[in-house]
Structure formats: C-alpha cells, structure tokens
Amino acid sequence: MAIPIIMPKFGQMTEQSSIVEWRKREGDAVAKGDILFTVETDKSVMDVESFEEGTLLKIVVAPGMNVPVQSIVAFLGQPGEAIPEGMASAPAPAVPTAAPARESGGAGLQAAQHARQRAPAMPVAAPAPVAPAAFKISPRAAALARECVIDSSRITGTGPEGRIIEKDVKACLKAKGYDRLRISPAARALAAREKLDILAIRGTGDSGRIGVADVQRALAEKPRPMGRMRQIIAQRLTQSVLTAPHFFVTVETDLTALVELRARLKAAGAPYTITDFISLAVVRTLQEFPDVNSATDGTTLRWNSHVHLGLAVSLEQGLVVPVVRNADELTLAELNARSKELAEKARNGKLGPDDMTGGTFTISNMGMLDVENFTAIINPGESAILAVSSTLQKPVVRDGQVVVRSILKMTLSADHRLIDGAMAARFINAVKQKLEDIELWKLLTS
C-alpha cells in the first residue's frame, strides 16, 4: 500500500506551509533520510527528510501552494504500486487542502478536519496572469523568431491589435543588423536551448564573433531568483529599515580585565566566551530598561516581561537568528550552554521556527571577522539590536598616560519611535559598565 507523505508541522505556531522545491521527482528512488522537499513557512525554509524508503510514486502538492500542515503532499511505495483512487490521475490541485482528505485515512483525515476549520488556502505563488501570448504573435512570426534565436517580446507588432506578424520579425532582424551577426554554431545551439536573444549578446571572438564563452557569460548574467532564505531575509530587513527609524550610538569598552579573566577561566576548564559575558550584560541591562526590550508598530506598545535574546548566526546561505528564551532566568553557565546548542543547531540546519521566533532583542557579533565597528538592522518585532565588533589592541589614555588596552566597540541600533537618544546612550553605557566591572564577573563565575 502506498505510504502518504505528510506536510510536517514545524513548531507550535505554524498552520500552513508551502513547498518551495521538490528534491525528488516522480519515479525517483527514495532512501530513509533522503531530502524529499524544501518547505517554506512564514519564518524559515527547511528541508524535509523521508522516514520511509521506496519510490516516489506521485507528487500531489506542486511547489508554490500554501497548504495546511498535515496535508498529504505525495505518495511513496513500490514502483508501479497503485495509489489511492482519485489521486492517481488528479493533477496537483490548485487548492489541495480538501482533495487529499476525502479518500485517504489517517493523516489525510486530520488534514480534512484541518481544512474544515480553516478556509481553503490559496496558492501563494500562483503564476502571474499571462496575457494570451498565442494571439500577440502569429505562429509564423513566432517560428521565425525561434529559428533566429531572438526574443520576440520586444518586437513592436503591426498586425491587428498590435499582433506581431512575420513582417515585424523580419523588420526587427534587418534593423538590428542580424545578417551581419557572427556566431559559432555551438553558441547558437546553446543560446537556443537557453532561450536567449542572440541580438543581446556581445561577441568577443575574432571580429566580434559570438562564441560559447559569450553565451555562457550572458547566461551567468541573466537575473535569476534568489534562494528562498535570501528572499525572506531581504523582505524582513527591508521592512525593518523602511518602517523603524533607526539611529545609532557607539561606545568603546575596555575589555582588558575581562579578557584576562576569561583566559584564566578557560585555562581552568570553564566554557565561557566573551560573547557569553556580553549576552549576560545585555540581558541584565534590558531588565533595567524595559522599553528597549519592548516593541512598537507605531501606535501601540508591546511590553515584554521576559528577555528572549536573539543571537545572529551567519550561515553559508544567509543569516539566522536563534532565540534564547527567557534569557533573564538563566545563569551564565545556562546561557553559555543554550547559546552553544542553538548555534550548533543553526549550523546543522536543524533550527525549527520555534527556535527563531519571539525574540525581544538581538545581538549581532562580528568579533571574529576583524571589524572596527558596524551597525546592524533591527529585527522586525524588536526595537533595538546591539552590534558587537572585534576586540582590538589600541593605545588609549589612562591617568594621562598612553597605554595599550583591549578595546571593543559596540553600536546600538535603536527604533526612534520608542527609544530616544538619551535612553539609548544610558542603555549602552550600562552594558559597558557591566562589562568593565571585573568584580561582577569574578562573582558570577566563582
């Protein structure tokens, strides 16, 4: 019996998800642990592994459809095995919420109940309405454009209602000097396969001849969609910059004593990092400045009774911000363990949406990247973010003498709708004072 594959529920809050991309095709063999598809929720993008093995018999949900969690998205089984009636010939349904539920039991039934509770989901990425292309260009004209490997969409039509006719294509070829174009046969074949317009490719071969390398360059330059994760980052950060008026306050912190203490602790086997000290200093300061731990949409203020500390982690494909929940209730040791655990999950792509939501303040640490100073963009839903730069050996004046100290620059980005300059200055100086108060850390680590 074919095994239904279910859209998993990622985290408590997730109601719907959409498949970004199928990593297996119908007919592909699937082993346990193989990645079947990539899912996008409103928070993140994740790979879904198979818990079974067999052959992917049928894909029910096409990429781009938003479906309730627990819906059937595909069937796995032995090659040639029948799948539940009604599914075999059905194309991927435009609104696939109710369809799978009717005939199949188990998880499908859950999906059905789910579907009754919620209004049927609409596809999130339905293809944009397409103009009746067939009418805009005559078959003869289209064939000629295809044969010449040119883009017909930019040709002005002179036929009825602006339809492009063969004459228009010929005029375009003549106007653009198509007969003088020199292109290698292989370059032409490649351009045709990739549906490029050879009139738009610049040739760099002998006497301007277009070669395969030129076509490959044009292909590489063709705009293509960013990864889903990158798109989400783009959307969220743009939203933040456009809605929250950012301003920035920088302080210099003398970490010399703390760096020495940390070295001593490390030699004695303690796990603490400078980042942990900064996190704890921030958590404690946020408790003194509840406004910095709050958020606004411009009309209302949302006050948070706990500190949920976001820690930005850079990955190869983008940036994720795992959140240490209730950081105000954690000891330094617990904070260290939890941060380490989340960073590890982030690097292994194992973060769930619940690990990445609900933050009240974020620290972005570029200390390991050798930077003097930088500013960060506030995470949507929060009102400030602290940018932590590298600890550098610097000459500074102490008691009228120039001495070398370990100096760290930190910059607070604050949402001016909620936080004023004076408050930001007091906040970041309170963090600084804690970090420079070596007796505090001796106490906390003893």
């Binding site: 290698s184 046969p185 292989a186 074949a189 395969v212």
Partner: protein
C-alpha cells in the same frame, strides 16, 4: 649600451616566432640563444625524432610491400646514415631560422643571458643590452633523476639522438610520449625494447580506448614489452650494459633511455634581479596574456610549465610579442592539439572522455574505425579509429582523438572544428572528399547521432 624595445631570451619554437612577430609590429628586437637556434624542438626533439621515425616507417612499409605485390630484396637499414640524414635536415632548418631572423632585422646574440635588473640583460662576455620588454623563452631540459647512475649507457632523449648506432636492446624508463615514440622508432628498426612505467599504464594522458589501441599495436606489431605499475629499481650500468629490477624480474639491456619528464631552464637567469621568482616547481608563472608578475616581463613555452609542446610555445610567443608591443592585450589560444608519433600515431585535442567524467559533464561520443573506410583498405592502413566527444545537449564538438594512419595530420581538422565551435551535425554535413582518411571524421560525427550510413544500426526496428 645598445637598447631594444624587446629582448627575447631563447630561440626555440617559442622565442624565435616571438622575436619575428615583435619585429613585424615595428619593434627593435634582439634574441639571445646560448646553444642552437631552434631550441630543443629543432635540434634535439620534434624534428630529429620525426626524421628518424620517418626512416623507420619507410623501412616498415618496404618490409610489408609484398602485400601490394611488390617484392623488395636485400633491404637493410644503416642507422649511422639515418643519423647523418637527420643532422642534415636539422642544419637546413636551423639555417632557415637564422636567415628569417636576419631578414626581419633582429639582432642575434649567441650567449647565455642573465638579468642585471628588469630592463638590463647581461651577456656572457659582459655586454649589456637595454630592454624595454623581455620575453623569457628558455625552455626545458630532460630530467635525470638522482637514482640513475651517471654512465654513457644511461642517456636521456638528447643523448640518445647523438648516438650513431642503434642499441640491440633498449630499456626505456618512462611511458610518456617521448619514451613511447623513441621506443617505437627503435623497435621498428629492429631493437628489442622494454618500457618500464611507474604508473598503472603508459600514455595515461589518453583515454583508455585510445591507449589500448596504441599499446596493443606496440606490443603485438613491434614486440615492445610494456611493464607498468612498479618502479625500476637497483639500476646499475657497466661497460657491458645496464640492468635494473622490475619487481622480482631482472631486466638487462645495452642502453637505458630515461624519459621521465622535463624540467624548466632558469639557472643563471638571475630572475631575482628582475624581481621575479619561480614557483615551487621551478617554473615561471605566466597568465593567458603571457604576462609574469613583473609588468615588463613575459614568459612563454616550457619554462611556464603549462603544456610542454612546441606549437603551444609558438602560440604563446606570438601573443606575448603582440602584448609586449601593442597596448591592447590579447589572450593566447587554449585549444591545443597533442600529437604522438608512436606506431600507430595518435592525435588528440580538447576534452577527453576522461576529462568529461571528472568534470561530470554529459557528453555523447561517436567513433569510426579506419577499417570501415575504402581508403584505409586501399592503403593497407586499417588500424585504429577517430572519435568525437560532443556536448550531450548542444551537440558542440568538445574533443577529438585519432589513433591510426596519419592521425597526427588528421587532428588538424578536428582542432579547427572545435575552435570554430562547430556542432557534430554540421561537421557531419560537411562534404569530405572520397576516398580519404578524413572521411572518418564525417562518419564519426554521424555516429554521434546514430545516423551513420556505414555502420550497422544498433537495434533493428523491423
């Protein structure tokens, strides 16, 4: 101090064309050569070996003339006379270069050269030449590993070509193209030849099917013993002969030919005075414009350690000269045919099937054997095949191999086709004269699409 726009160091197949091209473009040019005009290629490489191989081929053809109904009696080969003929050919070509250089107004200096600074070249007699740009074309020399005894019975290719008697038995160390070419030549003239190769097979730069064809013929037709996969150890030389161990077997021969590779010549150039360093392998690095890290210095040919072939050096040399004299830089070409004058001959160009596999590139191939050609049978030359390697999706011809009669000539058509980025379909539609060996390319191009008239279909559908 006499000053030139361009000074070329080394007058091999890279250096002398570079000098002539620079002169054609109006530059004042000097060329410095410490040995002979023409370099390794003309004096101790391509030309002398090909002269001897031509003689060996002629002998083999005469020996097989009976199949055509021609009886020849009393055939004998005089190796010393062949060497004499070779020397004459070399001298004539060398003289040709001398006259060409003179005709282009290039000043020739027979001397070693070293950098005093990046714009000053010192010659052996203390003369100094001022140089706007310098093209380094000092080439390479045979590597003689330290484990080999220094003895007159142990030679590299240059020493081998100077001996005017053919050894009765020859041990060749190294199964690359130099070792195999000389092995085939000596075996054709009657020497008993054994090749020892450390790697798993000889001629590893070739695809397995091409390699199999060459090795099979070398073993079967010429009686060459090929021993691969182990080193030659405990090598000793005495006046009676050389001996060495291959695993448990003891090999003995009159002469040991070492052909294990070539190393760059940079000794005495004092590159550091010009601010230039060699890389960890001793080569001078140059980019596709033949530029080194020092803006006025260019390097070409074997000393750059890219592809050690005369025609590649020439292509680099001409590009280097243009880039040294003109403002607008030009890359040298990178589609380089490689020819092996073994028996049978081999020519390869572009992507090999092995390359496609390592690059994970989808390709189609088409192979056609010379035995299927009228011309092959008519000439009694039916060994081998030609092969196309084409892009699976665009049909672009990416690589080619020919093994068999005239393979070294035939590869020219493939090289032109690949550089012009032709597709297999177009090459197949090109009318090839009948009956010729070149038809094999056309047939093989049709094989790529399963549409060859002269090959039975793979599966019958009726």
């Amino acid at each position: 101090m006499e000053t030139f726009d361009v000074v070329v160091i080394g007058a091999g197949p890279g250096g002398y064309p570079a000098a002539i091209r620079a002169a054609q473009l109006g530059a004042s040019v000097a060329i410095v050569e410490k040995e002979q005009l023409g370099g390794t290629c003309l004096n101790w490489g391509c030309i002398p070996t090909k002269t001897l191989i031509a003689a060996a081929d002629m002998l083999v053809r005469i020996q097989h003339a009976a199949a055509f109904g021609i009886t020849v009696q009393g055939v004998s080969a005089d190796y010393a006379a062949m060497i004499g003929h070779k020397d004459k050919v070399v001298a004539q070509l060398r003289d040709g270069i001398k006259q060409l250089l003179a005709a282009n107004g290039i000043k020739q200096f027979a001397s070693v050269a070293s950098f005093q600074d990046r714009n000053t070249i010192a010659l052996g007699d203390g003369t100094r030449l001022g140089a706007g740009k310098v093209i380094i074309a000092t080439g390479s020399t045979s590597a003689m590993p330290g484990f080999l005894p220094r003895h007159e019975r142990v030679v590299e290719s240059r020493g081998f070509l100077a001996i005017n008697s053919l050894p009765r038995t020859l041990l060749v160390l190294g199964g690359g193209f130099i070792g195999c070419e000389l092995a085939c030549m000596a075996a054709s003239l009657g020497a008993r030849v054994t090749i020892v190769e450390l790697l798993d097979d000889i001629l590893l730069l070739l695809d397995p099917d091409v390699r199999r064809e060459v090795r099979g013929r070398m073993e079967k037709n010429l009686g060459i013993r090929v021993l691969a996969g182990k080193p030659l150890e405990q090598i000793a030389a005495a006046s009676s002969g050389v001996r060495g161990h291959f695993g448990d077997e003891v090999l003995e021969a009159d002469l040991l030919l070492c052909a294990v590779g070539r190393k760059p010549v940079t000794d005495g150039l004092n590159l550091e005075n010009a601010g230039l360093k060699t890389n960890e392998r001793g080569f001078i690095e140059a980019d596709e414009y033949c530029r080194t890290r020092v803006p006025t210095l260019f390097a070409i040919g074997d000393v750059t350690g890219k592809i050690q072939l005369a025609h590649y050096a020439t292509a680099q040399g001409i590009a280097a000269a243009e880039n040294a004299v003109r403002q607008k830089p030009r890359r040298h070409d990178t589609i380089v045919p490689n020819v092996l004058f073994t028996s049978p001959e081999v020519g390869v160009v572009g992507l090999s099937e092995d390359d496609a596999k390592t690059q994970n590139r989808a390709v189609k191939t088409g192979k056609f054997r010379f035995a299927g050609l009228g011309k092959g049978l008519a000439s009694g030359e039916t060994t081998g095949f030609v092969k196309w390697i084409a892009d699976a999706e665009t049909d672009q011809l990416l690589g080619a191999a020919a093994v068999g009669p005239h393979a070294t000539e035939l590869i020219a058509e493939a090289t032109t086709a690949i550089r012009a980025e032709l597709t297999a379909r177009e090459l197949g539609r090109t009318i090839h004269a009948h009956p010729t060996f070149g038809e094999a390319w056309m047939e093989a191009a049709h094989v790529v699409h399963g549409e060859c008239v002269h090959v039975p279909p793979k599966r019958r559908n009726f």
